[in-house]
């Protein structure tokens, strides 16, 4: 996975807070820097502030304090330059109803002040498998197709920074994989992508870096592989031939746990340690006459890491 620590930031968020009129504080002094060309996944439970943060950057919600710059342009003072670099795919399926696919995508390009470019629109529609549907009214399309239309609209003006707010919510597996493919292609041509998602699998597969937001605070920003290495641990599960009543004495050096019926023994270890201890554990077990019929290993997923993180803070 390429990481771009030295690339200039395309997005800088500094000290951004948002308190809604009713007094609800949706964001608490968020700082974030996004490097050009990376895929950044923003994770967080519902109501954590993901959409508020995106909405502020895109100009849909006013910030209470702080500053945001897009490619060096302040989103307030220099909103034209800042916004023209951004494409936004909103979470809700908010589309027109009576317009054709072609018209609505062309409209978006015009709105962003770009001159007509039918060739580009055609390419976008083809990439998203929408070309055959170009003359259809949007209201006749399925939910998944509408989602693609929203992506096409966001790409119509050739943005450098693309926000995907839960792009695969309510989308079937095949379409989800297709969308990941689209996202990868975009990254290959240099588009920076920020996505929010509930599917940790998605972040795990796609992202270069991951940010976790909880109750309006950005509690962690980390390179994905680093995050998984740091917080991830592996488990070796030994399925025993004879159930054990208790872990035999003399194994206290190992982080072992016995299943309820004593049928399996789970050994947790750190994959990064110099010695994992697996070989010696096996030897000791053999010496004790504990035999097993099968073994399996399990690595903690991003989902588990995420749940642990958010629960820790709660």
């Amino acid at each position: 996975m390429p990481v771009f620590p030295t690339a200039p930031a395309i997005l800088t968020v500094s000290g951004v807070s948002k308190t809604y009129e009713g007094g609800f504080q949706a964001l608490k002094s968020v700082d974030l820097e996004i490097a050009r060309g990376e895929i950044f996944a923003l994770l967080g439970p519902n109501g954590a502030g993901k959409t508020t943060l995106i909405s502020i950057i895109c100009g849909i919600v006013n910030l209470s304090t702080g500053q945001v710059t897009v490619d060096g342009h302040d989103i307030g003072r220099d909103y034209r330059a800042a916004r023209s670099k951004i494409g936004l795919v909103p979470q809700e399926l908010t589309t027109d109803a009576f317009e054709s696919v072609w018209d609505t995508v062309s409209f978006s390009r015009g709105l962003f002040g770009k001159t007509k470019n039918p060739a580009h629109i055609e390419k976008v529609l083809r990439d998203l498998s929408l070309w055959e549907k170009r003359d259809n009214k949007i209201m006749t399309l399925s939910g998944g197709m509408k989602r693609r239309v929203l992506i096409a609209k966001a790409l119509s003006h050739e943005p450098e920074l693309l926000f995907l707010d839960e792009p695969t919510a309510g989308v079937d597996v095949a379409l989800r994989r297709e969308m990941w493919e689209v996202v990868r292609k975009l990254r290959d041509v240099g588009v920076t992508i920020i996505l929010t998602t509930h599917y940790i699998e998605e972040a795990e597969m796609m992202a270069d870096r991951i940010g976790v937001i909880s109750r309006g605070e950005l509690i962690l920003v980390e390179d994905k592989t680093e995050l998984m290495r740091k917080l991830g641990h592996k488990e070796l599960i030994l399925h025993l031939q004879e159930p054990l009543a208790a872990i035999p004495p003399g194994f206290s050096d190992y982080d072992l746990s016995l299943s309820a019926q004593g049928h399996s023994l789970t050994y947790s270890y750190d994959t990064n340690a110099e010695r994992t201890g697996i070989a010696s554990l096996m030897r000791r077990l053999a010496e004790e006459g504990i035999r097993f019929r099968d073994i399996s290993t399990k690595q903690s997923t991003l989902e588990e890491i995420f749940v642990n993180l958010v629960e820790e803070r709660a």
Partner: protein, 253 residues
């Protein structure tokens, strides 16, 4: 100035008009024809001339104004309310466009449509009554100024409204009575003196009076006052729109 965006919004709105051509064009034409049949032919033949003009011809400017006010208002209101209702407003708010450009697109399209309607009604009227227009340039000026002013009011209503009910309430409860009481079908000089004075608080009086002057050279109030008041009415929603976008009122939280 992002003129491409203005053109995009304008085109989008005009396409909406053409999609609903029947209800946009045909229904005002039919209702105007009905007015002529009832007021012009049936009742009008028994009403004496007003300021030396046959009653049927006298009501033409008022009828055009009536439609112009309603159509400008509802078109612009609906144009901006609908994206709010469906959520597509996100795109407008996140696009590199200024408030002025958004207003130009929406108000321009709504005004264009109602001006076209006004002219269609004028042509329809010519089939029923003998028309002559003394000051065609002034007529167009009043037509355009009024259409733009009320489209702007409509735009504000569309932003203010948070339900279809509110969208209907202003045209129905305020604009229609003002238009009817503003001298669409009579000269306010026909009223008792007290009600003449009351009528002068009605902004529509100035619009209709000025418009009628452009047709027949007679008016309830002086033409300079009509024009002045029309410009004041234009400035009011302009100021309101500027405030709305500056603060994000009803648009941004």
């Amino acid at each position: 100035m992002n003129l491409t965006a203005v053109a995009a919004i304008y085109k989008f709105e005009m396409a909406r008009t053409f999609r609903t051509l029947m209800q946009s064009i045909i229904s005002p034409v039919i209702s105007t024809s009905l007015y002529f049949v009832v007021f012009g032919a049936a009742i009008g033949s028994r009403i004496q001339e007003v300021d030396g003009i046959s009653y049927g011809a006298f009501i033409v400017p008022g009828l055009i104004m009536l439609t112009l006010l309603q159509q400008s208002l509802t078109n612009a209101a609906f144009g901006i309310y609908f994206p709010k209702f469906t959520g597509t407003i996100y795109e407008l708010l996140s696009a590199p466009i200024s408030p002025i450009e958004i207003v130009l697109g929406y108000v321009g399209a709504a005004a264009t449509k109602s001006i076209a309607l006004g002219l269609i009604i004028l042509a329809t009227a010519a089939l029923f009554v003998d028309l002559h227009i003394e000051h065609p340039v002034w007529m167009m000026l009043f037509l355009v100024l009024t259409a733009v002013t009320f489209a702007m009011f409509g735009f504000i209503i569309g932003i203010w409204a948070d339900g279809f009910e509110k969208l209907q309430i202003v045209p129905l409860l305020i604009v229609t009575p003002l238009a009817f009481l503003g001298g669409s079908f009579y000269s306010i000089k026909m009223l008792p003196e007290f009600w003449q004075d009351v009528s002068l608080v009605n902004p529509v009086v100035y619009l209709i009076s000025g418009f009628r002057w452009a047709f027949y050279g007679t008016s309830d109030v002086s033409i300079a006052l009509s024009l002045g008041m029309t410009l004041v009415f234009l400035a009011a929603p302009l100021a309101a729109v500027t405030y709305i976008f500056k603060t994000g009122w009803r648009l941004k939280s």
